[in-house]
């Protein structure tokens, strides 16, 4: 008890401490309730109802001003579950053709998190115009329901699905991270819809309504002073030529592969075809969209959603010889007149890589025209093993660095959603595969003819051809030639990029060979009347089956207007499928029509060929 007397004073300390804390709290309350008015303003915001006005998404035009993508109105039925009391439920079910159970299920869903019975949520997505018409008459009887107007994409022609991409509902995770998008909003998911989302999407408008305690709208806040109108998305001017794109898709129909065309003087993509493709109108709308998407997604044989032009990597095959020829000339190792022997392969006498019969050893120009494998095996060894470098590893690195200046192994920096670098194998890689010092230029000789681990995406192949056509430079390939209005463009697309070889003479030698390719060389059957075109065939071996047919070409020879890279998967020789298709595309683009009967015959054969559905084409022998 005596201790209690000593400690008695502590009651004042404890009591005082309690009072002090409470005093601090009262001060704080005084501050937030009476002094600081930011909370009051926030509270008012909470009591406002923001009604969203969705903007019209930007239109997309092709390079000639033709409409590629536009919008059509669509109507979502929204519901505020709390306000549905006294609603004519049976009628709602009847109009929407749903059961009572379904109705209750949707209402329940609208009540659960993240939705709330007090807030609007979608009841029926994108009603058909007929349903909407039927509904509108009765809407006044459907308490708690209202219609939200939106737009969906429409495509006048069922083309360029891979390039344009599609629009869909934003994913939950993205919506949570974003300050602009809310769940249920639409966003570009692939293609240019995705890469130019910020331009196309426009800006949502809001109308601020004041609500009372019962969440009923009393009126407009400040007579609409702070309401904002939706701002439509900007128009995009796409660089593709709609007619060319459509023609190309028809030619590529029934074949797996890709075709990319570029205007070399600007880097604009004239067409970007990935085959098989699909009708972009399939991926529009609510229920329809998800059903069609599932169908396309699970077509694992054709993989129509797979963008081959931008994401499939192929060995470039013989088309790669152009780069070898340029590097070797640049290093002073070969000249126009250099001849290397060829007798069915390298080393001569049926070694590997094999070569097809083309009448013995050729000079540089004809080696390009007839695509001699032996020639480029020699060339590759000349480059890698040149005296200048003490060790062949340095030679190899030199070759690799030079190749990369032409684009392979680097991301080009396009405005497309995919920008794969492809692959030019490194020294490190080979050290791992063969062991350090256990490989020589001979071991990797097939790189010289564009085989082995060398991989390019079709867009890169087109870009390599562009460099040749431009005699040494390229613009970063891009699919949009104007944002908002034609010609308004990011400046990175107006900047020239130079390849490692700059001397015009070297390019002319190679180009001469490419012209001969059409005139007595491997693609002579695809010669285009009245047009001097330059091309290079390729036949890429691959682990997936028959060889890929490849072709790179540009025309006309002087001031080229169009560059094309074409790949037809597992179709055999490049000159049989890829070259004719490419030549038809060039003719169509430069002349507008195909007229001569011989050419029309080729066109017919190309259009009819269907590798996918089993109609195997007649394989001719050369």
């Amino acid at each position: 008890m005596s201790s209690n007397a000593q400690l008695g004073d502590r009651k004042f300390i404890i009591g005082g401490f309690f009072c002090l804390i409470v005093l601090i709290y009262i001060c704080r309350l005084f501050y937030i309730q009476l002094i600081d008015d930011q909370y009051l303003r926030s509270a008012q915001n909470n009591a406002f109802r923001y009604q969203t006005e969705y903007p019209v998404r930007g239109y997309v035009f092709d390079r000639n001003g033709k409409l590629l993508v536009y919008n059509s109105p669509s109507y979502d039925l929204m519901v505020i579950p709390r306000e549905t009391k006294g609603c004519d439920t049976a009628s709602v079910c009847e109009v929407l053709q749903i059961t009572k159970q379904e109705y209750l299920r949707r209402i329940k869903k609208a009540c659960q998190a993240p939705n709330s019975p007090r807030k609007e949520s979608v009841f029926e997505k994108q009603m058909s115009p007929r349903t909407y018409a039927a509904l509108q008459e009765k809407l006044y009887r459907f308490k708690g329901f209202f219609v939200q107007k939106r737009t969906v994409r429409k495509y006048p022609r069922p083309i360029a699905a891979h390039l344009l991409g599609y629009v869909g509902e934003i994913s939950k995770e993205k919506a949570e991270k974003s300050t602009y998008y809310k769940e249920g909003d639409y966003i570009g998911i692939s293609g240019i819809e995705n890469s130019y989302e910020s331009v196309l999407c426009g800006k949502k408008g809001t109308q601020i309504a004041i609500t009372d305690v019962h969440n009923k709208v009393i009126g407009k806040y400040m007579d609409g002073k702070y309401d904002t109108a939706a701002i439509s998305g900007k128009a995009l001017y796409c660089s593709i030529d709609m007619d060319l794109q459509e023609y190309g898709e028809r030619l590529m129909h029934g074949k797996k592969g890709a075709l990319v065309a570029i205007e070399p003087s600007t880097g604009e993509i004239l067409c970007l075809i990935s085959s098989p493709s699909y009708d972009p109108n399939l991926l529009v709308g609510g229920k329809e969209r998800s059903r069609n998407f599932t169908k396309l997604y699970y077509d694992t044989i054709n993989r129509p959603l797979y963008n081959r032009a931008l994401t499939a990597t192929y060995p470039p095959g013989s088309t790669f010889k152009l780069i070898d020829a340029l590097i070797a000339q640049n290093d002073g190792l070969i000249s126009k007149s250099t001849v290397f022997p060829c007798n069915n392969g390298y080393p001569p006498g049926g070694g590997k890589p094999k070569c097809h019969p083309h009448g013995g050893g050729k000079d540089l120009i004809w080696s390009v025209a007839v695509s001699c494998n032996s020639y480029y095996s020699y060339v590759f060894r000349e480059i890698v093993d040149q005296r200048k470098y003490p060790h062949f590893i340095d030679g190899y690195n030199h070759w690799r660095d030079m190749v990369k200046t032409f684009g392979p192994g680097t991301s080009l920096g396009t405005d497309l959603p995919f920008d794969k670098p492809g692959n030019v194998p490194s020294v490190k890689y080979y050290d791992k595969v063969f062991g350090k010092d256990h490989w020589r230029s001979n071991t990797i000789i097939s790189l010289g003819i564009g085989q082995a681990e060398l991989l390019l995406v079709p867009l890169q192949m087109a870009n390599v051809a562009t460099i040749v056509a431009n005699r040494g430079y390229y613009y970063v390939p891009h699919s949009i030639s104007g944002v908002g209005k034609p010609g308004v463009l990011d400046k990175r697309f107006k900047e020239k990029h130079y390849a490692g070889v700059q001397k015009q003479e070297y390019y002319e030698n190679v180009i001469e060979g490419m012209q001969k390719c059409f005139e007595g060389g491997t693609a002579s059957r695809s010669k285009i009347p009245d047009i001097i075109a330059c091309g290079k065939t390729g036949t890429a071996q691959n682990p997936h089956g028959a060889d890929h047919a490849e072709f790179q070409a540009f025309a006309p020879r002087e001031n080229p207007k169009i560059v094309i890279a074409c790949i037809v998967e597992n179709a055999g020789f490049g000159h049989m499928w890829a070259a004719p298709i490419t030549s038809l595309m060039i003719e169509k683009y430069l002349k507008g029509t195909i007229t001569s009967p011989a050419r029309l015959e080729i066109e017919k054969r190309m259009l009819e060929a269907d590798f996918i559905n089993g109609k195997t084409p007649i394989v001719e022998t050369k």
Partner: protein, 435 residues
């Protein structure tokens, strides 16, 4: 005396009783306001929370009467029994209880649930009072470093701390109910009242302050240097002898230890706890749509109340479910919004008045047991008050504990009622028995 034996209200402190009833009724009306919706306007509708709360209140009244009827000796005699019983109940609930929001701390009976951790408070208070009243834990306040003396002096303190720490750790570790567990820390103040050296409290308080400072100040080296300067400077104001030098060095070293440990402790908190601390201190990017949502909405609701409030049932923030948990842990938002500064102050003062009244009553007890128990009641109530209101006005991190007598919930109302009424009964008997 014979007449008074039959009157169960004999000796009952009317003031405490009145404040208690006032708080419970005000709480009920505010729960009605918090979950009000037009379709269920009947305040007696038991399908709604306010209807259920009425059932809880009725139950609480029955419990209160029962406590007053039972002989006061019962609570002292069975103190350890209660403690043991609820310790076991708190372990069993982990195996037999229903999982709610990831933790198993509820026994479910149909629509109603009971949380044994709530009842651990009064049981711990009973046991602690019993232990302390039988011991003399006044410690020698001299500065000694001999371990033997240390153990001898502090033996009873350690045992008393065990009484507090066992339920704390049990509830935290097994049931993962941080809010319910952390309340037991309040009992340290009881130990202080009963003689625990003030050094412990000051050290604890300083450590807490340093923890916060170390989290706010990012430049730890600078902080350590500042502390060193302050320590050295303080040497100028005390007697310059060896003892004080050692003391100051020790204080500095432990302060530095706290600062250095801060990051470690912070990094080992659970993510949601980190976020709550970040929200409180305004550290990093707090997203007001997500982790900062509760506190921000709570502040908006309270802050928009103004002086007189928006009027009963007129609060827009609480009505539209802007504030989560507004009927339980965030009930004070409804008060702040609808009753304004005036109402909030009245509620806080009522709670404070009740607490101070309990301290006053505790101090007039003749038995140590009753006094210690009374202090236990006061500190537990105060801890709830301080943390609950502190978090709604952004002065405390969000810890889910109820506002005494106010928040919705049977377990908490019953547990506070039991806690308080045992003391009222002890107080009523203060003149009859010397315990």
């Amino acid at each position: 005396m014979a007449r008074n034996d039959k009157d169960i209200f004999y000796g009952v402190d009317r003031v405490t009783l009145l404040v208690y009833i006032l708080l419970v009724v005000m709480g009920w009306l505010n729960i009605y306001a918090a979950v009000f919706d037009e379709e269920h306007q009947n305040i007696f509708d038991t399908s709604q929370k306010y209807g259920k709360q009425l059932i809880w209140i009725t139950g609480a009244a029955i419990i209160a009467f029962s406590i007053l009827v039972i002989d006061a000796n019962f609570y002292t005699a069975f103190a350890y029994f209660f403690y043991g019983f609820f310790i076991i109940a708190n372990i069993l609930v982990v195996f037999l209880g229903r999982e709610v929001k990831g933790s198993r701390s509820w026994f479910r009976f149909g629509d109603f649930g009971i949380q044994p951790a709530e009842f651990m408070k009064f049981a711990t208070n009973l046991a602690l009072a019993k232990f302390l009243s039988n011991q003399n834990i006044v410690v020698n306040q001299q500065f000694r470093l001999k371990l033997k003396d240390l153990i001898k002096n502090y033996k009873n303190t350690f045992i008393a701390l065990l009484f507090i720490l066992v339920p704390l750790i049990l509830i935290k570790k097994l049931q993962d109910e941080t809010g319910l567990a952390i309340v037991f820390i309040a009992f340290i103040i009881v130990l202080y009242r009963e003689g625990l050296s003030v050094g412990f409290l000051i050290f604890g308080l300083l450590a807490a302050v340093l923890f916060v400072v170390a989290l706010v100040v990012t430049n730890l080296t600078g902080l350590l240097i500042t502390l060193a300067v302050i320590s050295s400077a303080s040497f100028l104001f005390v007697k310059r002898n060896k003892k004080n030098l050692i003391l100051i060095v020790l204080v500095y070293l432990s302060a530095a230890g706290v600062v250095l440990a801060t990051n470690y402790v912070y990094n080992h908190l659970e993510p949601h706890q980190k976020v709550r601390i970040d929200v409180l201190l305004g550290r990093g990017n707090v997203n007001l749509k997500k982790e900062g949502y509760n506190v921000n909405q709570a502040k908006i609701a309270i802050g928009s109340g103004g002086f007189f409030g928006k009027g009963y049932l007129q609060g827009t923030q609480t009505k539209y479910d802007f504030v989560p948990e507004q009927d339980t842990d965030f009930i004070f938002c409804t008060v702040g919004e609808e009753w304004g500064f005036l109402g909030s102050t009245i509620v806080i003062f009522l709670e404070l008045f009740l607490i101070l009244r309990v301290i006053f009553l505790a101090e007039r007890q003749r038995s140590d047991y009753s006094r210690i128990y009374g202090y236990g009641v006061a500190v537990v109530l105060f801890f709830h008050l301080a943390v609950n209101i502190g978090m709604t006005i952004g002065l405390m991190p969000v810890i889910g504990i109820p506002l005494p007598f106010f928040s919705y919930g049977g377990s908490s109302l019953w547990s506070f009622t039991i806690l308080l009424f045992i003391f009222i009964k002890l107080d009523a008997n203060r003149l009859l028995i010397l315990r």
